[in-house]
Symmetry: C2
Subunit: 210 residues, 2 copies
């Protein structure tokens, strides 16, 4: 994760996202007016002190045994993380994973809207997937410039990822969500989040090999 100007560190942001999900996902819990750091800590396997520190870093203070106002926590996190705005994005590389990301409905609640997908395979272009048009990569930079897209999702094969990233950045993209299994070199100020799905296997395979 290369985000030099961030005020909140990536791990804090990830935990805020987990608190948000915990408080907003379950119908029963939504009804709760208040929630304590202890309840969140137990459900999410985090230290209660850590929960209070994280929420304190975005200006939230709990009250004694009463805890936090649940709605206030959810709304503040949404605002701080930017989920209350719409983030237009393009996706590049419509393979199996790219297709799954396009079709996934869960991103909408975080403000993400994939407005177009790009692929170099002519047999895919001109079609739509889950309402998202698939275009030829040739028109990618022009599209990104014209629509002032700042976020790109990269799900190309590893060997073309860097070249695609270079073109996206030159066209004005400021943040890349990288699902290609390779590290990208980007200019300072560009934010890259590597999503290395296989990483989880390290723990599972290790555990099963005991």
């Amino acid at each position: 994760m290369i985000c030099p100007d961030d005020h909140l560190r990536p791990l804090v942001l990830e935990r805020l996202m987990l608190y948000h999900r915990f408080l907003s996902e379950r119908g029963g819990r939504k009804a709760l007016a208040t929630v304590t750091s202890g309840q969140m800590a137990e459900a999410l396997d985090v230290d209660p002190t850590q929960v209070r520190k994280d929420l304190g870093s975005i200006g939230l203070r709990g009250r004694g045994r009463v805890g936090f106002n649940a709605t206030e926590v959810v709304n503040t996190i949404r605002q701080v993380l930017g989920f209350d705005r719409t983030h237009l994005a393009v996706l590049v590389g419509v393979g199996h994973l790219g297709g799954a990301l396009i079709a996934y409905r869960g991103f909408a609640r975080y403000g993400l809207r994939i407005v177009a997908a790009f692929d170099s395979d002519a047999s895919k272009t001109g079609q739509e997937l889950a309402g998202c048009p698939i275009r030829n990569t040739r028109g990618m930079t022009a599209f990104v410039r014209r629509h002032q897209i700042h976020l790109a999702i990269l799900s190309t094969p590893a060997d073309v990822a860097q070249r695609v990233a270079d073109r996206l950045v030159a066209a004005g993209v400021r943040a890349i969500w990288n699902f290609a299994p390779t590290r990208l070199a980007v200019p300072e100020g560009i934010c890259v989040r590597d999503e290395h799905i296989s990483l989880g296997l390290s723990q599972l395979a290790y555990r099963l090999s005991d």
Copy 2:
């Protein structure tokens, strides 16, 4: 991540996986006989002391300025993490993401083999996807027992994930790779790795909202 009996901590395992990928992915680097902790640290944005400590924890010592034997590092990591063995797995929930995971070829190098997929949608069962048969969830526990499957990949909707997990654990599954966007309650000794794909959005949306 709930893995109480682990000797190496999850974050160490993840870094070992990153060293493994760094040393095995690039054709040019493969040819390198030796690699220093400084080279790995720079490429992967980790402290050099951390690299030496991680490799030391699996019995590898570098020699002065020469560094580490690259092949030895790769092979030792593969052995420690269990990538040199075959891990048979079932996948449950053949939606877009489930389909992408079945079709992804990158898992094979870590020893993962998805032998069957299960779905409750009768229009999907009886077919094959990337050579993997899709079966009805009704036969899931019997299959898991018969083939002594210890690893399951969960890509169902959140609201059925717990019920499916309970059935899998009862049938002998010891490790669950959970892509359903919910936390699972499992008995002690069962290893769960939550893959919360949306997590990355916390950093990207925050950054773009500056």
